[in-house]
Symmetry: C2
Subunit: 219 residues, 2 copies
Amino acid sequence: MAANGAPRVQLDRDRIVGAAVALADEEGTGALSMRRLAERLDAGAMSLYNHVASKDELLALMVDGVAAEIAEPPPGTPTLEAVRRIAVATREVFVAHPWAPELWLRCAPGPVRTRAMEEHLRLFAESGLAPELAHHGYHAVNNHVLGYTLQELGMSSGPEDLESKARAYLAGIEDGDFPHSAAHVRDHLEGRTSSSFELVLDLILDGLVRLDRSRAAGE
Amino acid sequence: MAANGAPRVQLDRDRIVGAAVALADEEGTGALSMRRLAERLDAGAMSLYNHVASKDELLALMVDGVAAEIAEPPPGTPTLEAVRRIAVATREVFVAHPWAPELWLRCAPGPVRTRAMEEHLRLFAESGLAPELAHHGYHAVNNHVLGYTLQELGMSSGPEDLESKARAYLAGIEDGDFPHSAAHVRDHLEGRTSSSFELVLDLILDGLVRLDRSRAAGE
DNA sequence: ACCTGAACACCGTTCAAGT
DNA sequence: ACCTGAACACCGTTCAAGT
């Protein structure tokens, strides 16, 4: 296709990471191999190693790349409200890149995530919560965002239809032996349980504030 | 080593799954290949396929195997107390098999987990919580257990020392640019934040009950 | 019925060679 | 400085052959 002498688009880290993210978005991390990625970039497989040290480094760069997409709340936002918005924004990015949460856990944080962690801890530190509760709160919110998203996406390293998966599960169950399970899945399929993510998020945030107050009053 | 004519121990599903779990416990899922597993069982690599359809099926069997290790609370236990105990017991099993949480998310549930899910949903259904809150509560607790454990274990598909990892991270950070991050990691290393798991678990469970009461009173 | 080696289509990565 | 093909040590799995 490309004319023989035509200079190829140059390879660089950003182009490689961008193509890797696109490939993962389309086909999941299971389909992301150095060879297939190089092919997509119209390059030899080994050329990639001139710009990334290893596949693991590439994966870490991808995660930090999507971390940069997480919208920051405006500077004046009250601390715990900012925490809340970041949690919601993070989930949105994870939904857009369903392969990201798993790597988020597996890869060492890059500069973007390191900065973000510092910022989140600062928000908690300045929230007025007791230091111990601020510490726990940071983890509680983090775990909720990751746990919820991972569960929601079924850790789909390939993009399969969640609804059809649920229907298949329901079909295998619905013989009366598992009434609660069948009802639960049906609740999902019929949309009777919206915004569980934000409900539990608020349960955690409100619970932290309430616990902090009762501890301060009790001592 | 084995005498030439000596009859080998027979291969069967349970022995294969057991050896796979042991291998994963010792070296992580990254080191678990059909060839290495067969070698451990003193069998040809392909012999395994007489007992499991694929590696994916084997992984699913492993997860259901560790699910069977989760201690059940005695029958009379109050519903939400039972939920609490199951959550704690599940985390204990995950700590014993650090490779399990990731597969838990990725594999379709086998018979053990299917039964357990039904049982947990029954506990929530009979807890007195409104159906919608029971539904959310089931997810909230599940997400907490998985999210917390995954984060705690750093998704370590190979057993690396968590503490040394934290120390390395701290060393890379501690130049004054990331004061909150450094303080946070130091809190961990010096054991100043115990039992975060149970604190947040109770935050969720108590929050559900409180929200249920206030909704019942408000309407 | 159960076992197995050879073979196929893949991996990530090393290395020596090109420009 | 950047690119690259051949090669190495692995994968999961198919298949045809053994017992």
